[in-house]
Symmetry: none
Subunit: 189 residues, 4 copies
Amino acid sequence: MPDGTATKELIGRTALRLFIEKGITETTIRDITSSAGIAVGTLYRHYGSKDELAWELFAESYMTIGRELHGIRIKEATARSKLEAMIRHFCNIFDKDTAMFTYLFLSRHRHLQKLTPRMPNPYIEIRSVINEGIRRGEIPRQDPDVSASMVMGLIMQMIDSRLLGQRIKQSIASLADTTVAASLRVVEA
Amino acid sequence: MPDGTATKELIGRTALRLFIEKGITETTIRDITSSAGIAVGTLYRHYGSKDELAWELFAESYMTIGRELHGIRIKEATARSKLEAMIRHFCNIFDKDTAMFTYLFLSRHRHLQKLTPRMPNPYIEIRSVINEGIRRGEIPRQDPDVSASMVMGLIMQMIDSRLLGQRIKQSIASLADTTVAASLRVVEA
Amino acid sequence: MPDGTATKELIGRTALRLFIEKGITETTIRDITSSAGIAVGTLYRHYGSKDELAWELFAESYMTIGRELHGIRIKEATARSKLEAMIRHFCNIFDKDTAMFTYLFLSRHRHLQKLTPRMPNPYIEIRSVINEGIRRGEIPRQDPDVSASMVMGLIMQMIDSRLLGQRIKQSIASLADTTVAASLRVVEA
Amino acid sequence: MPDGTATKELIGRTALRLFIEKGITETTIRDITSSAGIAVGTLYRHYGSKDELAWELFAESYMTIGRELHGIRIKEATARSKLEAMIRHFCNIFDKDTAMFTYLFLSRHRHLQKLTPRMPNPYIEIRSVINEGIRRGEIPRQDPDVSASMVMGLIMQMIDSRLLGQRIKQSIASLADTTVAASLRVVEA
DNA sequence: AATGAATGAGACTTCATTCAT
DNA sequence: AATGAATGAAGTCTCATTCAT
């Protein structure tokens, strides 16, 4: 029963790789289909347009991470342990699905404005951790948006460094430790 | 009255604005020329191609900032004062020429690999500050590349927050204070 | 229970409607099958191609009308009564199966050259009426092709007016009277 | 001074010919440009799209004829002379620019709904002649819309006969005489 | 220096048709 | 008989670049 699901996944996987390698605009539909070994028309049976393909690839992963961070926030007890678990989770995802994570990182500016408040959202989860930490007296009073941004900045930079890959050769584990430590220092003053 | 220069500057200014608004690939030569009120052919008298225009716009500003940070590094006395002056310098540039800074931020991934080691380079300057700080015992022993990356991450995130402009409404001055403080905490442990 | 026939008719009916609404070229196979609630492959079991479908729909109705007009020509006695009966017959068909008639009207230029002399043909019937009328002295000597064309012109225009529907809101019955009268005046001089 | 006007006219002329020969939808952009001996991009410098090209070709001629009929209506004295002059004018246009007239005839259904009430309009002129004729007692009381439609029907059929060209070989002059006579009979009862 | 009409490769997308199930 | 995923040729349109004026 060739229900097409396998083909759709093949297309998604192939597109992801090419979008990362060359950029979304620079990747043509024919790049994707010939790389995937399918006909052009087949792509359009599964995705309405190139834009829709790019967006679906983004939104799916973005919301998945949002949901996972939400799970961590609920499960862990303290602000410290939540933040640490979240950052380590980012590292795990990066290790397990570098391509997906890289795509999220590189294409976020293109897609961010299409997100609706209802969608699961990693940034909101981090801010909530800080908010709750302040309320419980675990961390000093501070602007939760500024702090959440800075924590995100540290994580993003970790990825940036790996992607450009020129300057930092650390293992992802040691980067995790360093980033956790830095994040806690930034948040706890 | 070298009016060729004025035209070239007009083109550069116009292109910069459009590149930021729509992205480089999404901006057409005709977008630029009609916005600037000139003919298509005129653009090609001043820039060899669209790629060259995008690169020249990037490299010029990137190297200027590199030179300015170099000046700060030489002038200031301590690692602390150097880092603080550098971050405040970034804020000043952002205030004075937001468009240029935004363009650098958004297009860096496209251009970074074209940089040669000989070119003035903001990142190198920050790393040098940390390196020297360690050697003089002003800050603890640490991986200068990791630390420089994290400081850059904080600065980049500040810009990111302003550009997406959804979450942070702080004045750039107050962001400067916060970023300086966070950077020092990250570096000094 | 020959259910293949029912499906074929469903396809024909659906295609007819869409061909009228959007034009033949502008109607896609998928438009037809999804409108009819069947699979694409099913259409091709009943019609060899889209062109064949369009032609079959045309030819079937065109020849039916030709045969009916032939019946009228044989049954009625005078040129006057034949012409009147024929025009009223057109009006009846229009009322009973507007879709089919509209399709004939709109697609005739595309199909007319595929007609062979052997096929039943409404125009030939009208010309024969005029020819016979002249021979019997019922109507003045005149070019039967020109006159038949003009009578067809009046009928076609009646449909045209209804289809574009902007200018004439008369009931089809009252249009019949007027058209009959005008046709007789055109033919009888 | 190659201002491009010549090229635009060349494109229009070529497109008109092909639209008539093959139909609008069936004529491709490449058909037009290779027939005209120009590049694809050149067509798009002069016409925004294929639809716009088809419409511009239609509207221009349609309104010109509307304006010319208006001139006739004002210049001639009686309903009879006006109608006769108008029908002869149609014949003259057909002789002088058969291609344009043919195009108007074949593509009218596609374009008619884009006409606005403000545009010069041949049908309106014919109806006005009948309206005024009734008011002055030159022709009997009758529905001006129905009569105008029937006159248009006779004219259209004359073209139809020439285009399909199978049945009528009369010179356009003799068709004019016949059509004038028939029209007057239709209108004057 | 400036102009802008012309170029044509190449992008995205559609759609009639096939065929394994 | 019916299904619908897959095909790929062909369509429309864009756009960086050139060049005669």
